[in-house]
Amino acid sequence: MFKGLSLIVMLLLSLPAHAENWPAEQWSTGPVITGPALQALETYAFPPRDDSTRTGVRTDALLVIRDGQLIYERYAGPTTADTPHLTWSISKSLMATVLGVAYGEGLFKLQDPVQTFYPPMKKHPDVTMADLLHWASGLDWQEDYEYAPLKSSVVAMLYTRGHQDMAAFTAEHAEYAKPGQAFRYSSGDSGLLAAALKTIVGPKRYPDYPWTALFDPLGIHHAVWETDATGVFVASSYAYLTARDLARVGLLMARDGRWQGRQLLPEDWVAFNRQPFAHYKAHQDDAVPGGQWWLNRAVDGAAQPWPDAPADTYAALGHWGQAMYVIPSENLVIVRYGDDRDESYQHNELLKLALKAFAQKVQP
């Protein structure tokens, strides 16, 4: 009798360790977290908000998934759980994920020249899909938003000379380096990926492809992805998702491209996303570029960009403080939307405080 009971107790205890949580129509919720560590995180992420000066840390949404369950969410400003929030450059990582599904269908290879799928790139015949994914096309692109509006390629692409046909505008740029040899962050490179995808999956499937390939299988029902006048998705900037929905993509990544029983992204695709670009030089950017994702890796003699987070942390990052952090070793996905108009918000600070509040393992 006693033996039988202890067996049942053991079974019950071991169940949560083996059962894998996945969101159904809604996220299931995990244990409610409270205490001083959470308070410290909230003090940092949600200071009193001043919409007239727009200074300081201005978090719109903070949401945490642990072990596939929602354990924390809070919204501020006009944003709610139902707001499809502008993700800005998180869109780049989302487009890479959509491309990953096409890659899994065997429709292209990383070393394929982009010109195969997008003829205007015949001017730059040696640029490959991998080069674009690394932001290493070698095209002479200028990525400043507000501070150099005259010379900014991205402002011209989104609002003036390039906005009707963004990929064509990008392909017109001159070459400053050999393709694949140098990193230079470029919304143009990301946009070319979206243009290439049109041929990769065919013009018939293309307008619905982000939905059929990625959003529908993950149960994301309210995604918006704006296009230019040629119908090409603005992969650099204009995808909109609720924080809860974006976290689904984070969970897909945290589980190496698997969604429930289905390997939606090939494992080697996710491995490529998470592999530092070999020719990246220390301090060229705030984090280390992988395949359209940002990595917390110590490379080229420099320390980890976010020293208080595990080395396997990686992220999708966007303008004005948009971020999704994936921390596989902690089974954590953190979505942070914001409206930061200055440099107050720091990824490392948020990660440090979030790990103190939510991590189960001992931090380094």
């Binding site: 919409d51 007239s52 006009p78 499809p84 929030h85 011209a156 989104l158 003036t160 704006e226 909109y240």
Partner: protein, 105 residues
């Protein structure tokens, strides 16, 4: 050289003028496009703030505010078309649909 010695300031002025004209010629495309930025940016990002993110009009006005002024602003909620003028140029953005969001015209 004698010109330089007799009229040094005029000569310097001429050199600078030539350099400026050269720069204008070199940057003519970017300079011509520049005045469009503020109205295009305001129309597009207001449209998306209002009709994609479904935020209130008052919030979206402050959300798109930049250091450059705009001179006129029309948001037609029926056609979901936002038209903004500034720096002598006018631009519109239109809400296209549930999935496509807004597009600058």
């Amino acid at each position: 050289m004698s010109v330089l010695r007799r009229r040094p300031f005029s000569a310097l002025f001429l050199v600078l003028l030539v350099a400026l004209l050269g720069w204008i010629w070199q940057e003519r495309e970017a300079l011509w496009a520049f005045p469009d930025i503020i109205s295009a940016y305001t129309a597009k990002e207001y449209c998306s703030c209002r009709y994609v993110m479904n935020n209130e009009a008052g919030y979206c006005h402050s959300y798109v505010k930049q250091w450059l002024p705009t001179s006129s602003f029309v948001d037609d909620p029926v056609s979901k078309r936002v038209t903004v003028s500034g720096m002598g140029r006018s631009n519109s953005a239109v809400w296209m649909g549930e999935r496509q969001g807004c597009r600058l015209q």
